[in-house]
Symmetry: D2
Subunit: 256 residues, 4 copies
């Protein structure tokens, strides 16, 4: 019998400001999460935002992940795009290298990769897209873990390529019975209640499963739970989740 996990990672997207525009409560959230996915300039985050976010991550001693996305600032990487595979592969290497350099000048480690938005979702179902993003990561640094949707196509491709794959679970999104996420456009797909999200976090860690929208139980082996940083109650949710987990004896720490 599998022992109950006694630690889990909490991750959140950060560094998604751009030029004059700010987004997210990065510093407040850093007190509750263990890993931060830093945007790399293609969907959000300019080099100065990136560096400041790296500095914050260093200050709060959280793990830094690269958060590469489609080359589309206006769409915030949330519009799916049919990018030619070779173009996408080189776009990923470029973004990883840029963030690596900004980590190096701050003497901190780049610890993992989590793709962003529409690219993350595309990788969950499109094997070709998953493959080139993961190959790019392997070319860049084969020892970097990649954080992907649990039970996705990308997870299998990543293992096949010999990468260390970490699986992500969502505490504020409704799951379908097959383990996929219900579309945001459907009613009830996003959970706003902080206490409910905290209970779901605990359920995910303790039972390695979640109750799907139809009442059935779905296996979700989550190495990391996502805290959506751009929701209005992101900080309250992060705090509640962390406290609920710690009350139950589960530590919050990076997988990397």
């Amino acid at each position: 019998m599998n022992p109950i996990a006694n630690t889990v990672d909490l991750n959140s997207d950060m560094g998604e400001s751009f030029g004059r525009w700010t987004l997210g409560a990065d510093e407040a959230l850093m007190q509750y999460v263990s890993s931060v996915n830093i945007a790399c300039g293609f969907h959000a985050g300019d080099p100065t935002v990136m560096r400041k976010t790296v500095q914050l991550a260093k200050k709060y001693n959280v793990a830094i992940g690269a958060h590469p996305g489609y080359f589309d600032v206006r769409g915030f990487g949330r519009f799916d795009m049919d990018v030619p595979l070779d173009v996408l592969q080189n776009d990923i290497i470029y973004q990883l290298g840029a963030l690596q350099a900004l980590c190096n000048v701050e003497n901190v480690k780049l610890s993992y990769v989590k793709p962003h938005g529409a690219l993350y979702n595309r990788m969950a179902r499109d094997e070709n897209v998953a493959r080139v993003v993961l190959q790019a990561t392997r070319e860049f640094n084969a020892s970097l873990p990649v954080l992907l949707l649990a039970n996705s196509v990308a997870e299998n491709v990543g293992r096949e390529l010999g990468l260390t794959i970490k699986r992500e679970g969502f505490i504020d999104r409704a799951y379908l019975a097959d383990g996929s996420l219900q579309s945001r456009s459907e009613a009830g797909s996003v959970i706003h209640d902080v206490a409910q999200a905290a209970e779901r976090a605990l359920q995910l860690v303790q039972t390695k499963s979640i109750t799907a929208i139809d009442g059935s139980s779905v296996m979700i082996q989550a190495d990391s739970l996502c805290i959506h940083g751009d929701s209005p109650n992101a900080v309250a949710m992060a705090k509640a989740v962390r406290e609920r987990l710690e009350q139950a004896g589960i530590g919050v720490s990076s997988f990397a």
Copy 2:
């Protein structure tokens, strides 16, 4: 007495295509130059163009330099901009890191840095701008040589920062008596004649000086001569210069 130099570097800007648009005869030129300055995506060159250019440089065994510019694709980095100094500094680190990653995946070395266009010109006269670009380079990799306009403000700042500075001379641009370049907007500022350019190359290497527009002689200690890659006769000029130098017993090889 100083011995006559018996080698000199020939450098050319490359990888300045972008998406659908192509520019320059990169592969043809690579047969005559010893160093290539590869655009890093901010003024030209997308990640796929960058990678292909790195592959070409590897094939022709020429030294690779980073060619960072202002964040302005539409202006091709040729419009001067008052970028805040911290923004500019991080922009440079970002670009160097991105190209470094694309060099790494091809197992080739990034050997030097040469700033592009309006940024290069601004650094020649503006100490603050020169300082942050050079500090960025030092933060990124303090051992990278930087190629700058001979006799410029930037050259002095670079030495003060402890960087290895290499000086660039222009064979197809008219010099003023004070060693600065005559503005392109003035008549006679650009030399189109291939044979004349080749003679000027030889003069620069053998005499460490050039005849200015007023007939006087200006000291120019050039470690590298620039071949403008986007002029219509770029390949013919590169060929003529290389042949003229080699006839005179001067080898063409990278300084890096």
Copy 3:
């Protein structure tokens, strides 16, 4: 029995340079075509390129069409994107207004609209996308004809919206038996032979049909034939097509 058409329009994409990069032989082609589709800055064409192209169209007395595309310069509007429908609708109005202003200052008429690249192709099969682009056109100016792929979903949506729809045929692309274009990635999908293209132009006009890749005959009622401006032999093809049509007594003139 339908009379044989005695005129047809020849159209070509133009104004697809951008900043430092040039593309296409616009002026040479203007001597053979009757309509020019001018890029509007979102996939190619900056405002200065647009104005110069409008000036050329005025000089050669060809009809000006707006050629709006996805907001993606790097992808040249050729990567399909899932742009939210309201965003896409306003993007189209914005582009039409910008080009209209540049026509106004040159005292020439904006005569029609032809969507570009991946957007054009998406409209041919996706009713929702077709609808918002056409609604945007109707909001902007309900009297503007829209040039669309003959036999496409968009053609039907356009008529339903009360717009004047003109149908485009391709002389250098292989058709499938159902009247759709064979994918460019398949062998034989692009016809490079100038004389063959000219014969196909004549066949399209005289028979309102074309021979499909499987040898069958497909009905294509084409009001306009497309000359691809960015192929190496674009000018030769335009010249051959025009001469072949005129030899057969068919005039080349704009539908607008």
Copy 4:
């Protein structure tokens, strides 16, 4: 003797959100100002943001001005750039045409032009830049008033070109004795106190002058007072200014 003005315009920059990022309390401010300067997509404001801002302006019955800027989203149009004059001229026409189209589809009038940020400041001192921006406006629509810094170079150029020029005064910025604005980088250059700003508004309207930083009085004939929309207390300031003016019998209404 000049009669005391009994109305003045209050203007504010709006529509400066972009894609995923929001900025400013547009709807709250619209209740206090009489004119709104809508960003045109080059420094901020995408077409959908523009349209929504036009709709809000219609709802609150405030005059709509175009707020064109440099082509630099990342810099928010606040970095000065040496844009070639012909490029700048066409950039302005493009932006005006785009906003005009979005006004047209909402059946509202585009009433004036106010350049943005670094471009506005450059026009205040650089005659060549001022001239091309104003020529572009005249080409687009010679009857559109242009709102410019009172006492600036641009004001004179505009009158010379036959345009209707409206002069702007600043209630929250310190003036130098020569009527220019003290640089934001100097201490005391920005007035944050709402009551003080309201008093300055009244002084500007009633006395056509303002107390400069050295205590002297400077003539400022302001047709419009600027409310900076992106400061944290923008709404409180707009409300206080409007109430103070109305208490003193001065109406707030558009000049257009």
